[in-house]
């Protein structure tokens, strides 16, 4: 096999551990220099490939690449830019292949969620049909945890841990204050369509540390009367409660409880602000004192409290992606295979991208308790392993010592391309 360069790009919302996957890709490719030349990264994701704005990662020191493992966010920049069907976006797919050819790229590692798996598959198909094959390997990443086949998606476990820890801490706080002050704390978490992240709030309470928590899932239509009855009964019994509300919760009219009316580049509605809406309902319906928080980016950037399991899996999918390329595989994605839950044992598998692209894994209905406000034992068994272990970053002057790469550009060889 002749030596070829590899292209790596980050796609969509970033996470606490997507750079750990980048670290896995680059370190493993560096270890097989006979097969892989340079790893070139797309500046700001796939846009970097389209505009031939490539980063030469070979300019980064071994220490800088190693530091990616403990650095949150997307070190090369990410983007929300979706390529459509081969017919609709043919000009862009062809441009990608042109750039890959100009820079002697034979491997395409694309680190993202369902949309990028689809892009990855199409690049591979088009390259094959044009007789200029590219081995396209998708590296799974999404805090939404909605990719099929794989046990979970790197990025999710760390958000889950952050939410579980935060809900436990805030619940202890409210419990202290409830006699004369705040009785209900409402925390808004991410999750447009699926309640995976909200479900993690349920882990804050366990047998050793019981805490009253109400979860509002996007899968369960919001019923104001039943919600208020639930909060009322918990506050009467325990003196307080915490509410974890997913940004994607909808009312009986099928509208988001909080809809800002704007949309992102993928056409998804951009949400935010359901916590104050729910708090207002508590105030008006029960007259209870409340506080509310919105975790927003803090939850997915919180590398300081990342799950060790998640970091290890994020690195492993990057490493395995390169190993799959070495083994001659194409149009595949490394998957995490759960072998047992208690204790958690996992290994790496693979899935063909045709099984992954545009398939959304929903949360099983039996993960949600019959009353719709909590998680079941089955859900707990699924989630608990994913938050195991701490993987603290190094600190300097009291702050995490995260790396910012040099991101040296590769010289351009092609005419300009406008997107």
């Amino acid at each position: 096999m002749a030596q070829k360069n590899a292209f790596y790009a980050q796609s969509g919302g970033v996470s606490a551990v997507i750079n750990a996957s980048a670290c896995g890709v680059i370190e493993t490719a560096r270890g097989h220099a006979g097969t892989f030349g340079k790893v070139l990264a797309g500046r700001n994701g796939i846009i970097g490939a389209l505009t031939e704005d490539l980063i030469d990662t070979s300019q980064e020191s071994t220490a800088a690449i190693a530091a990616l493992r403990h650095t949150p966010s997307g070190a090369f920049g990410s983007c929300r830019y979706k390529l459509k069907s081969l017919e609709e976006s043919r000009r862009e797919y062809e441009r990608l292949l042109e750039v890959f050819q100009a820079h002697d790229i034979g491997y395409f590692f694309y680190n993202g969620g369902g949309d990028s798996a689809d892009t990855c598959l199409k690049v591979s198909q088009l390259a094959g049909s044009l007789g200029a094959p590219i081995q396209a390997i998708h590296v799974p990443k999404t805090v939404d945890n909605d990719l099929p086949i794989t046990d979970n998606c790197p990025g999710f476990g760390s958000v889950a841990k952050y939410i579980a820890v935060s809900v436990r801490e805030a619940s202890f706080d409210v419990r202290s204050m409830a006699a004369t002050s705040t009785k209900v704390f409402v925390l808004e978490v991410m999750g447009r369509h699926a309640g995976w992240i909200a479900a993690a709030g349920g882990l804050a309470s366990d047998k050793a540390t019981e805490l009253p928590i109400v979860i509002l899932f996007p899968e369960v239509t919001f019923d104001q009367e039943r919600f208020l009855a639930k909060v009322d009964s918990l506050v009467k019994k325990h003196g307080f409660c915490s509410v974890v509300v997913s940004e994607g919760v909808k009312g009986p009219d099928s509208k988001f409880l909080a809809d800002q009316g704007s949309k992102d580049a993928f056409g998804h509605a951009q949400l935010g602000g359901v916590a104050p809406v729910v708090s207002g309902i508590v105030r008006d319906g029960l007259g209870l004192k409340y506080h509310w928080g919105v975790a927003d980016y803090l939850q997915r950037a919180a590398r300081h409290i990342a799950s060790k399991t998640d970091v290890e899996q994020a690195y492993a999918v990057g490493k395995t992606a390169v190993e799959l390329a070495l083994a001659g595989r194409n149009s595949v994605m490394p998957t995490i295979v759960r072998e047992s839950s208690y204790p958690y044992r996992w290994s790496m598998g693979e899935a063909h991208l045709s099984e992954v692209a545009n398939v959304e894994k929903k949360m099983p209905r039996d993960f949600i308790s019959p009353d719709g406000f909590g998680i079941t034992a089955t859900c707990r068994e699924y989630l608990t392993p994913l938050i195991q272990g701490e993987d603290y970053p190094p600190y300097k002057d009291g702050l995490p010592d995260y790396v910012t790469l040099k991101n040296e550009p590769v010289e351009k060889k092609l005419p300009e391309f406008t997107i």
Copy 2:
């Protein structure tokens, strides 16, 4: 000195380290059993003393008391209940003394902010004037960092660390997304009157890791035009910026930018929701994509990322309070004395409560940069030592193993008292 029981209570908003002070008080008192009998705690703060709802901390194991050091919130419950002047609240002060006498209490350790220092002083004065002396020692605690004389207030350093870490992490996230998506991240932090907590957001950027951050302090009247110009210039230069906004920021009309209109038991306006207001200003004024978060209770409960310095100081003020009592002192508060900033060296001092009660320490004007949007080198020198070191709690099943005490009640001896 005859053996007497001690009374300990937590007051006002709780913190990540107020239980470390409780730990310092109880462990130190247990070590001097000749002087101190039992430490009785007020259930839900001073309300527990008024209603004779006392907790017998001698029922708690050595391990449980030691675990307070790494457990956030108020283990015995806190309250927002302010005693007024001796004239206005004489009935309550007399009741306190009655309860103290009935339970053979000779020492009053009150763990809180400015209001509780005032209560502490008045209890001591009244007890003295009635010939039934009580040694009243105030144990400083407030995330607002607004007590005078002491270098800082336990609780603040950990909030500062949480905010600095979170702003750094969220800024890395926005930086990754800015090419096609979010360019401005707005984080709302606590601080009604003083910008101490907001200032800590400025630590997220330092020489090794430069990040564009705009701070909105309550000390600086919000000027929409200047704010938009600042954000615009940072986004043009860096592609993105983070905004840290204090809940207490006021507009030119002297009204809070976000005023929910309700008030807490101390008569303070209850705020929340300035982040979406500021985000809307960015959207309407500059047309930039934004995200916003509200840290709320997460910031003050975040024991998982507490400052080691803060934990040590919180323990030290509890321990020193008991040592001051042993030395026969009355109506005093242990203070933290800064001996040098780089490296940070501190020792314990003391202040008379007449110098502490109802005196609010403001942030010096020379801590805020001339343009009003950042911190100065002087402020950095003050803040940096306070976030040094990590003091991770133990974990179990992926979550911090925080203690919940048994909180066994002491048998009542007096007629009921209604508050």
